[in-house]
Symmetry: C2
Subunit: 180 residues, 2 copies
């Protein structure tokens, strides 16, 4: 096997692995493959180049790039004289990991907390009324679960604060430097 082929396949192997494992970030293999391609490409790419490289439609490239941008995994870059949009992969994987929690998880936590608080209020109102022993018991147990959930979400948010503030890196040191 010639060196060009080896170089190619070494890179492809990793791109393919990444693409199949990025489901943890909620993205499909195709989008993962695009990220991998951008990550290893040493120059920013246009939509047409991506389309060419991945043999997919330009529309797909456009929406995939948007998804990756929303996840802070890709950014648009400017190069004077170039009319087409250029995109490059963000390479700080620690930051991507942290942003994922700051954005995706916090969004969910916030929705859950809102729903739970609403339900807590409703149950507390019902608790004022005349109730059978069983009804009261049911409500109290539900309230206990709601309160537990609220505490858990507080804990999660504190954890995410810890990530976001970079204090986590005092605890677990970041080694190596970002590739350029």
């Amino acid at each position: 096997m010639d060196k060009k082929t080896i170089m190619e396949s070494a890179r492809e192997r990793v791109i393919e692995t990444i693409s199949h494992n990025m489901y943890l970030y909620g993205v499909t293999p195709s989008i993962g493959r695009l990220y991998g391609t951008l990550f290893f490409n040493n120059e920013p790419m246009t939509l047409d180049e991506m389309k060419e490289e991945l043999k997919m439609s330009k529309t797909s490239m456009s929406t995939s790039v948007r998804t990756l941008t929303d996840l802070n995994m890709v950014e648009k870059v400017w190069k004077k004289g170039v009319r087409k949009d250029l995109y490059e992969a963000k390479k700080d994987w620690y930051q991507i990991f942290i942003d994922f929690f700051s954005n995706e998880w916090r969004k969910v936590v916030s929705l859950n907390v809102k729903a739970i608080n609403q339900s807590i209020r409703e149950l507390k109102t019902v608790l004022e009324e005349d109730l059978t022993i069983d009804e009261k018991e049911t409500i109290l147990r539900d309230l206990e679960k709601f309160n537990y959930a609220i505490e858990y979400y507080k804990w999660l948010n504190q954890l995410f604060d810890y990530f976001e503030s970079n204090q986590i890196f005092d605890l677990i040191t970041k080694e190596g430097k970002e590739p350029y």
Copy 2:
């Protein structure tokens, strides 16, 4: 609105919210709804009870329960005299969160590390041969990226160790107690 309805809908709201947000753990709304139902049900449930409650097929209940079991979110319990399998929701959400990383993320990290190490070995072999300046440059930059990734995965594993060993709770205290 009568109290029975309010109690019902307060619970349903939260179950529904949970069900739509459990995609972060990689499960569908249906499976999330099942978890929510089990979480609020104060007794373990049989597949037939789940099927009845969620108006879905027993087959779906069976496979969903398996998925939740794999994620350490549900467990089978024994009750003498009862022939059907009984399942109940695990209620330690902190543990569920931690297990998710220990299991799902570590699995992925391990696959990625394996692929990257293989590619590193291949590129190092090629590096021995005669190469143009450009080829050498490309290889060195790829190697730099591979090494960066390896360091990142080490960091992630350390983070997961920190979770798994419960040291994380020294740092961010767990408040409240688990609902029974």
